[in-house]
Symmetry: C2
Subunit: 229 residues, 2 copies
DNA sequence: CGTCCGTTTGATCTGTGTCAATCGCTGTGG
DNA sequence: CCACAGCGATTGACACAGATCAAACGGACG
């Protein structure tokens, strides 16, 4: 599928694409393909050879790893502007599944390398984005390693809210397109404990919600400090 | 302190420095300083402004974060060849402490940016190394999120052994310069549980040791599969 | 109207944290 | 040279947080 064009792309300002001047976007468009992914579909399987990289332009994906005995870890969620391809491995280390309907730009790995040679700023931009992702991933280590269930949930909600805010959302509000099971597997908990943590945060007045997928962060400061931020 | 020279540097082949041709190392040496850090000393504090980047040339450091109530997380260990400075934040997000006596090369952040402009291969090398670090950090997420104590320990030992092997160590052997407390705070466990996991792995025959700091990985394959690798 | 799926809530069980004691090595001072 | 203090590691007893098992609820959809 050909590419729709960078001009109207809502993800562009957040993505590595922004490192290439607007005047040169036709070079990008020439190399890029486009992928539409319906809810639940998988973009790539753990173990597949890694031949492409992607930028998410719409929707949300999850990065999943499964153990032989069925234990599941959701290593992260990807949103518009996020880059898929910061890895040194020749094979995918996670399965990538669409949490919602998604749209992505695809680049063959070799085209991306070519583009980096041609636009050194693109490589700088990628390094910068890889560094941010490292910061974020190291933050998750603290969540998983040393925080209790409600604290983990607080940290997760705050981080998601901030990412959604950068994409035009309200500061004190989070949308949760993923299920409780996804959240549990992301936070190293069970569905039940996640649910209990939601009600505990609600009873404490830190959050409020009718719809379990649309959360108001009433006491943002309290949530941040609970998560050690 | 001036720089000793890249020629004899044992860390060079493992570090980002390898991206700069041997013929140009005098440019590196001109920008670099050298730091000696005795055991227990701290290189930088969480929250300090981040003005330099480092390459570890000798010894081991730990990357620590502390919560107000005293909970501690060791986000990782740094060894010869590892780069300190993959972060988008203007301040350190972790305290860096010497586990053993250490030696490091220092570069002012601005010199590093200058070097990247001058040697595009350096920037590529940094991106590649940042990607490996992302792979490794995402691996830790699985350890912390979904594995039991003995599995976490197994994964930790295997990963350390591999890193030491790349630096000339034996495949089936690990040296642990850090204390059980460091390991516990790295794996999200208590000292006691770490100790019990060591004896459990020993009783199962997977590892063997007299000295608690020098471990033989007797059943490397079993350890790898326990860790989900 | 009934089924299905995601979420919430309740009851019980278990693994890991907590508290406490012991071991063994190292280094120090009598 | 030996006694002892101090620290890291190990082992044991117990408690409790979170997992597991089980049930009920509510909205979406046929």
């Amino acid at each position: 599928m050909p590419h729709e064009g960078c001009d109207g792309c809502l993800a562009r300002p957040l993505a590595i694409c922004a490192s290439i001047p607007a005047s040169d976007t036709q070079v990008l468009e020439a190399e890029a393909g486009e992928v539409l992914l319906p809810t639940g579909a998988t973009l790539a399987h753990e173990g597949d050879p890694r031949r492409e990289v992607y930028t998410v332009t719409r929707g949300m994906l999850r990065r999943v790893r499964l153990l032989p005995d069925g234990r599941r870890l959701v290593a992260g969620f990807l949103m518009a502007g996020d880059f898929i391809g910061f890895s040194g491995a020749p094979h995918y280390r996670h399965t990538l599944e669409a949490v919602t309907d998604c749209m992505l730009c695809v680049f063959p790995l070799r085209s991306m390398r070519e583009l980096c040679r041609r636009f050194p700023d693109l490589e700088s931009g990628m390094l910068a984005q890889a560094c941010s992702e490292l910061d974020a991933t190291r933050g998750s280590l603290m969540l998983l390693g040393r925080l209790g269930p409600s604290e983990r949930l607080a940290g997760f909600l705050v981080e998601l809210a901030e990412r959604q805010q950068r994409r035009g959302g309200a500061a004190h509000h989070v949308d949760l397109p993923m299920t409780r099971a996804d959240i549990a597997d992301h936070l190293g908990l069970t569905i039940e404990t996640v649910s209990r943590s939601f009600t505990k945060l609600r009873q404490s007045g830190a959050i409020a919600f009718e719809d379990p997928r649309r959360i108001d962060l009433v006491e943002l400061a309290a949530l941040r400090s609970a998560a050690g931020l």
